[in-house]
């Protein structure tokens, strides 16, 4: 297992490669959420990655531009750029694993980012949409954003971001996921999120929908100051992917 940077030298992305326990089965990219959800769910995504690696998967976790340990400030956050980051990470994962077929696990906003990435054009790409953000407007309203100043920046989700970024998120809707209609997809919904995924991919023949009474890892549990690890959800994803 190792932490590393990849991408252009002036726009490096942070990645963490979990090496598989042989025999090697798959290659999996993890797309996190953003803001507080990114922080709180980090632990659960580490556990998921270890579980997948234990089942023979090369796993790459990474941070989008302007988030985590990757280059850039919060004001560099941009959904279009993040989709390019996903594609770059897929290339990196393919090179590191030697496997062409890649599965992508997208949590919350990460699911919407992954659904629009170029890598999804590959018919062999499989996706896990974990509590996806389907109503961007509602999510933006829930986080609350102030009025942008003259510089076009606004405090949103405890970060300073561009108004453009907020608008991009607000624009996320069921249609964001339409490119996945013919893909093999696991839609996993935890407690309280059962309704959020109801509007997406209504006629997708290869969609498997699973609802679980599990804590949402991207919600802060105030007793531990971070998110819980929903072990049953993690096991379900690992079994579906590998």
């Amino acid at each position: 297992m190792s932490a590393f940077y990849f991408g252009p030298s002036d726009r490096q992305l942070f990645g963490y490669h979990h090496l598989p326990r042989p025999p090697v089965s798959d290659a999996v990219l993890i797309c996190p959420s953003w803001g507080g959800e990114y922080e709180y769910a980090h632990r659960a995504l580490v556990v998921l990655s270890k579980r997948l690696a234990g089942r023979g998967c090369h796993v790459l976790r990474f941070d989008y531009s302007g988030t985590g340990d990757s280059w850039g400030d919060s004001t560099d956050a941009d959904l279009h750029r993040w989709r390019e980051d996903v594609d770059r990470a897929v290339d990196e994962l393919r090179a590191a694993s030697g496997r062409e077929q890649v599965s992508i696990v997208g949590l919350r906003l990460g699911a919407a980012v992954a659904a629009g990435a170029g890598a999804v054009a590959d018919a062999s790409t499989r996706l896990v949409l974990w509590d996806p953000i389907v109503d961007g407007d509602a999510w933006v309203a829930g986080l609350g954003s102030g009025t942008a100043g003259d510089d076009g920046l606004v405090e949103f989700g405890r970060s300073l971001v561009t108004r453009t970024f907020v608008d991009q998120i607000a624009g996320v809707g069921p249609e964001t996921f339409e490119g996945l209609t013919t893909r093999e997809v696991l839609l996993l919904l935890t407690a309280g999120e059962e309704s959020s995924g109801s509007g997406i991919l209504p006629e997708a023949p290869r969609l498997e929908r699973v609802t679980m009474e599990q804590p949402s890892p991207w919600v802060e549990d105030e007793s531990i100051w971070t998110g819980q690890v929903p072990v049953d959800a993690v096991r379900t994803i690992a079994e579906w992917v590998a």
Partner: protein
């Protein structure tokens, strides 16, 4: 500025990000950021990343690391307690940076439980020449802080209502002192965690508030003796425990703390600095302190350990 991912420690199980400035202003000195609770090394609201880059722009090298068992770091496999593995992890980080001739003196930054860990490692490790403690979990009351708290409470109608209906916490405490009420559950001395330098609490007997303050006093006396520089930052989220800037100095008089400590009190800031203006305030406090301090050069005879 150049950032490098490091895998180090036993079997490469520890992870950190080394941030090196284009032009080093403080040769042989590096800041090490410790985890806040079990949040990974990025820090709440990315403050460790921002601080590291802010400091790099001012010529300061830093490492933000995950302690063993936190974030991306695995355990070291020593079989020792989590707290002891944490200390070994910090030693490993310092050894690595020293071996690579990046730094031989260290300033350790911590928020919340990270501040406790920073304090503890400073007491044990002579290469630590400075600590930046943000909202440590143990804050010590003074007469002035009690007076301010009471005064503030007196201005609230709800407090008077509780007083007249016998539900005020001061009345309940008085009743307990007089043996007229139930035993006290917990303590108001701090929001969580154990005393500084009291280990991880496994098998430890409970210490009184006075015992803890005395332990802290002795530890601080050791740091003052080594000329270790201290930045002590408290946010408004702790105002029920800490309510004026110099409270830390007043809680530990007569040990020369004022010679080494700089105090900051940010009454409008939250514990995790969730507003941009709060993060900028912290960044400026940290870089201003780093630029103005003359961090000591440890001698081989420096020890400063707490013992016991």
């Amino acid at each position: 500025m150049k950032e490098t991912a490091l895998n180090f420690g036993q079997g490469g199980s520890l992870v950190g990000i080394l941030t090196r400035p284009d032009e080093v202003q403080q040769g042989d000195l590096a800041v090490i950021f410790l985890n806040a609770g079990i949040l990974h090394r990025v820090g709440p609201n990315r403050i460790h990343v921002r601080l590291a880059r802010h400091l790099a722009d001012r010529g300061v090298t830093s490492l933000r690391m995950d302690l063993p068992g936190v974030g991306d770091s695995g355990m070291l496999g020593t079989g020792l307690s989590l707290a002891e593995e944490g200390r070994q992890g910090i030693h490993a980080a310092m050894d690595l940076l020293q071996r690579q001739e990046v730094a031989s003196r260290f300033v350790v930054f911590g928020l919340c439980s990270g501040a406790d860990a920073a304090f503890q490692i400073a007491c044990l490790e002579p290469r630590v020449v400075g600590i930046a403690l943000v909202d440590p979990t143990r804050l010590f009351a003074t007469w002035q802080s009690w007076a301010r708290k009471i005064l503030r409470g007196a201005l609230r109608p709800a407090a008077w209502l509780r007083l007249f209906t016998g539900r005020h916490h001061v009345l309940r405490r008085l009743q307990r002192k007089l043996g007229m009420g139930p035993e006290e559950q917990g303590s108001e001395a701090g929001p969580a965690a154990g005393p500084p330098a009291a280990g991880d609490g496994r098998g430890a007997t409970a210490l009184s508030g006075e015992d803890i303050q005395e332990l802290a006093r002795e530890a601080l006396r050791g740091l003052v003796g080594r000329d270790v520089r201290i930045l002590h930052v408290v946010t408004g989220d702790q105002s029920h425990l800490y309510n004026y800037r110099d409270q830390f100095l007043d809680a530990f008089p007569d040990i020369g703390l004022e010679r080494v400590a700089r105090l900051e009190f940010f009454p409008r800031a939250s514990h995790t600095f969730f507003r941009e203006s709060q993060r900028i305030e912290l960044e400026n406090a940290m870089s201003g302190w780093m630029a103005s301090e003359r961090f000591p050069r440890p001698t081989s005879s420096s020890d400063g350990s707490l013992g016991g």
